[in-house]
Symmetry: C2
Subunit: 290 residues, 2 copies
């Protein structure tokens, strides 16, 4: 595995791999790798002949009062983990490599970003789409793998690729969970033991939604109410939203079906956590809780 | 030369050309080709082994009260001209091919679009950047050629390529003028004989700016005033702006230098015309007027 820090090195390395006939896969991350990221690398290794992982805490997607500075970083450990999982190239640029001057042009959502996480994080998805667009331009991957945990992000990236005719196939890989059900996230690091216990109500709530759907409940309001109740009963969980939406356009639905997703955001202490469950898809980490 | 109407045909044709080792050039146009467009094709043929021209009147870059419906179209004639000039592939999609669904994500300017043409055409440059971004994604050209006549557009496209790390080299080719100095434009078609005579004051004004700069004038306000005066004296020319700006960031300058551009927009009758002159660059079509 090779580590590079500049765009021109990425292009040289990827160009060599492409010339040798290998397809190129990309796994964009902000580092501090956990099993969630590594499952994306695994999936990418299955699908592509040459796997690039970017490790970059993108300032553009953090609001001024958010956790950019304290976001956990551990490059040395990340490199060891990425190598172990078969990544061929890690791209870990400095800010001045990706943003040498003030941006004049960005990739921006017109729709779907003014709701759910977009409401509390204005500019967040513009930051995400812009950096992902840049990474696509730098790496020119045949495919890129994203996690379902960031569901709204995954939807917007899929829309970006379609709307801008980007020649990249997007794969969305299932959420990986700890044994107790909590969705893996670098931000779990911030939680105290007590907060962590309370945070479990999120995945417990989602597991309840799955159980309810599987036993025949189709009323979206009922399903959402159950999740909310579980979270509120835990105490110390400040719910930002619980919504029951269509997987395609994130619009709230009245009748739940296989394409429905329950999406959740909450603050536990000062830590903002998100999670979701697709009602029609298997989620072994949630199923364990049933 | 081949004509195709779908994205998948473009990708197949370009893929074949690329496999045969040819570099790919793109000339995006809205058709109704004149010598200005054809000079871009010539330049592209010099620089690339396989030349794609897109012919598409992009609805996204027209405002609701603008001339989308009446914009002149002449595909048969365009095809003959493009073939004559060595274009290998024309891509002339229908609207539903490029915009099959409502756009969720666009390429948008954050800066530089709130002035000059952007003031009277809100959303115009978002429409331009989005369609050019799409064409880049569809064709994946090594280089693309744009005309200097649309100066603000050319600057924004260059910024887009830099900011989003698009793997495309952008060439900006000089404005081609009629014998009387008027910059070639499909919209010249709209002008009556009388309007056309009045419109000549635009290029005459710019020629005056060049003369003034070459004889040592460096006061941007003085240079701009001369252009404005020439246009106002013609009568029937409704000046939208005359600005003396930096070629790099379109910011107004006080002292003109080789990197300064005089940019102009005016309405003659109902026709909106734009033009510009780089004070440090040769412009044979304007020099002829001196």
């Amino acid at each position: 595995m090779k580590l590079v820090k500049t765009i021109s090195e990425v292009r040289a390395e990827v160009g060599r791999a492409r010339s040798s006939g290998r397809s190129i896969g990309l796994v964009p991350t902000m580092g501090f790798l956990h099993e969630g990221h590594l499952s994306l690398a695994d999936r990418c290794c299955e699908l592509a002949g040459y796997v690039v992982m970017s490790i970059y805490v993108n300032p553009l997607q953090f609001g001024p009062s958010e956790d950019f500075d304290e976001y956990p970083r551990a490059l040395e450990r990340d490199l060891a983990l990425a190598e172990e999982r078969g990544v061929d190239l890690v791209f870990a640029p400095a800010d001045r490599e990706l943003y040498p001057t003030e941006l004049t042009v960005t990739v921006a959502p017109r729709r779907l970003a003014d709701r759910l996480c977009g409401l509390s994080r204005p500019g967040h998805f513009e930051g995400v789409l812009t950096v992902v667009g840049k990474l696509f331009g730098i790496v020119q991957p045949d495919l890129a793998v994203f996690g379902q945990k960031d569901f709204q992000q995954a939807v917007l990236i899929q829309k970006m690729v379609i709307d801008l005719d980007m020649p990249v196939r997007v794969e969305v890989a299932p959420t990986v969970r700890e044994a107790d059900g909590i969705a893996m996230s670098s931000r779990n690091e911030y939680l105290s033991a007590d907060e962590r216990r309370r945070a479990l109500s999120i995945s417990r709530g989602l597991a309840g939604a799955l159980r309810s759907f599987r036993s025949g409940e189709r009323d979206a309001a009922m399903i959402g109410r159950g999740v909310l109740q579980t979270m509120e009963e835990a105490g110390g969980v400040d719910v930002e939203y619980v919504e029951v939406v269509s997987a395609d356009d994130l619009e709230p639905v009245q009748q739940a079906d296989e394409e429905t997703v329950v999406v959740v955001a909450a603050r536990v202490g000062t830590t903002r956590l998100i999670d979701n469950a697709r009602l029609g898809a298997p989620d072994p980490g949630l199923a364990r809780l049933l």
